[in-house]
């Protein structure tokens, strides 16, 4: 058991060191959601009035509405980027070193997913701190309650990223992931607009959004931030995390990539 703990803590420590040493990467990951918050949300504030909806107790400005979605956006980008690099690196570089560990491959992959997810949380909380200064201030207890919700979402999205990267060869560059995974997941969700607004425009778009796992991720975080519990979102996120992680580990096989290259 001790060997497993040493291994896991070593993987987390390495991700932490890389995070600390690559400050520019950290800053660039913050720029994206901050632009949405400080520019996009400010511009659309007047256009998009938000009625009283759960979990909010009162009318809220648009900036308040999109905070959970932007927090999840950080996790979405990090999860996809991290998983893509795991696949890209598996035949060379750091993943090869990871895989020479005598511990089971399933344990190694899950440790890696958990470690990158933990580091992503630091970026989310840095973003929430800036948002706090900007004036979007969820209850302090909500920020604490949101921690496990954010971790679950980070895991779900990393596992999904790994699964997609394993399965689809065309996703071997980030542009493909942006166009076919990140943008559809993000825009077809409740991150930027409440689903009832979407329903007013189009019933079938509403259903696409309602079935999107990212919508449930955003709602789980939104409710947690305001000290509310959303059982449906939690069930969906827990279930999908387990399914994605299981399939991702089962399909992570460098041999398949090599086979695809030769065919």
């Amino acid at each position: 058991m001790n060997a497993y703990w040493q291994c896991f803590s070593g993987i987390v420590l390495r991700e932490w060191l890389r995070f600390v040493l690559q400050r520019t990467r950290f800053l660039s990951a913050l720029v994206r959601p901050l632009l949405w918050l400080l520019v996009f949300a400010a511009g659309f504030r007047a256009a998009l009035g938000i009625a009283i909806i759960e979990p909010y107790d009162t009318y809220i400005p648009y900036e308040v509405y999109i905070i959970p979605g932007l927090a999840c956006m950080i996790l979405l980008f990090n999860g996809m980027q991290g998983s893509l690099s795991m696949v890209y690196d598996r035949e060379m570089g750091s993943m090869r070193v990871l895989l020479t560990s005598p511990l089971p491959r399933t344990f190694l992959l899950c440790s890696k997913l958990l470690a990158t997810s933990l580091i992503s949380l630091l970026q989310v909380y840095a973003f929430l701190a800036i948002a706090w200064v900007y004036g979007v201030q969820p209850p302090a207890m909500g920020l604490l309650i949101a921690l496990p919700a954010l971790l679950l979402v980070a895991l779900m999205l990393s596992a999904l990223g790994l699964l997609l990267s394993n399965a689809i060869r065309q996703l071997e560059n980030f542009a493909g992931v942006m166009n076919f995974v990140i943008f559809p997941l993000f825009f077809l969700s409740s991150a930027l607009y409440p689903l009832w607004k979407m329903r007013e425009s189009s019933e079938w778009l509403y259903w696409l959004c309602a079935l999107n796992p990212f919508t449930h991720a955003v709602e789980l975080v939104r409710f947690a931030l305001y000290e509310r519990f959303n059982p449906l979102a939690l069930a969906v996120c827990v279930g999908l995390t387990l399914v994605f992680a299981l399939l991702a580990v089962l399909t992570f096989n460098p041999q398949h990539a090599a086979l695809r290259k030769t065919n």
């Binding site: 001790n2 060997a3 497993y4 040493q6 291994c7 803590s9 070593g10 993987i11 420590l13 390495r14 060191l17 890389r18 040493l21 690559q22 598996r90 035949e91 060379m92 570089g93 750091s94 090869r96 070193v97 990871l98 895989l99 020479t100 560990s101 005598p102 511990l103 089971p104 190694l108 096989n253 460098p254 041999q255 090599a258 086979l259 030769t262 065919n263």
Partner: protein, 243 residues
């Protein structure tokens, strides 16, 4: 007990055969050079030895433990230096070593002790806090060797480890690995395409078109197939030479 035993190993990428019925063994403390032209199957063999690929047919045993049935004890006895550097450039020498120790589940105390010992052996003690990015190619290779030896493996696998080094560093590396063989009784499998890295007393394995076309002591093989190593290699790796 042999440090490495490869038996009846075959591997195919779909319909394309990469290795066919490859068998050889490596005794403790021996230096074996694995030679082969491009496309001979060396990379596939390394991928199988390091568990990157799963075994299809045949078996690999490291220190008597099968990669198929007992991967954990087998991998514990294997140290690897990959062709391309796999160090974290932004991390220090010591941080890289400690990460590797953690992956092998080594305790903190044991790690501290082993890191000190391997850094001293590679004459890197004073550079332990330097970032790997600041080191030259030769020093980076030494860090990778220190890393590969950290968990005290019985078998050290070096995949074209001298690629990219200047002639002096290449020679120094080769000699250093040989001294490890002698002093630590570690077995070494050294893949290369450079004939001058092979010495007459080495075990020699020649792969060609996925088959092991020759194995034995280098001087004996040279004598049997043309007189010197260059001619023997050329003869054995010409298409059609496969028996």
């Amino acid at each position: 007990m042999n440090a490495l035993e490869v038996s009846e190993l075959s591997f195919a990428y779909g319909a394309k055969e990469a290795l066919r019925q490859v068998s050889f063994s490596l005794a403790p403390g021996r230096f074996a050079a694995l030679l082969g032209p491009n496309g001979a199957g060396k990379s596939t063999l390394i991928a199988l030895l390091t568990r990157l690929y799963d075994l299809q047919r045949g078996d690999i045993r490291v220190g008597g433990c099968s990669l198929r049935n007992a991967a954990r004890p087998a991998l514990k006895q294997l140290g690897v230096v990959f062709q391309q550097s796999t160090l974290d450039l932004d991390l220090s020498v010591e941080q890289n070593l400690r990460y590797h120790a953690a992956l092998h589940g080594m305790s903190r105390r044991q790690t501290g002790f082993r890191v000190d010992a391997e850094l001293a052996r590679q004459a890197l003690t004073e550079r332990r806090r330097e970032r790997v990015r600041e080191l030259n190619g030769g020093h980076r290779r030494r860090v990778e060797i220190a890393r590969a030896l950290l968990h005290e493996p019985r078998l050290l696998l070096l995949d074209e480890a001298s690629v990219g080094l200047d002639p002096a560093s290449r020679l120094a590396l080769n000699q250093h690995i040989r001294s490890l063989c002698r002093e630590q009784n570690i077995s070494v499998l050294w893949t290369t395409h450079l004939l001058d890295e092979v010495q007459p007393s080495d075990d020699l394995l020649i792969l060609h078109q996925g088959r092991l076309v020759a194995s034995g002591q280098a001087d004996a093989l040279s004598l049997e197939h043309g007189g010197d190593l260059g001619s023997a290699f050329a003869r054995l790796t010409t298409s059609g030479a496969v028996q």
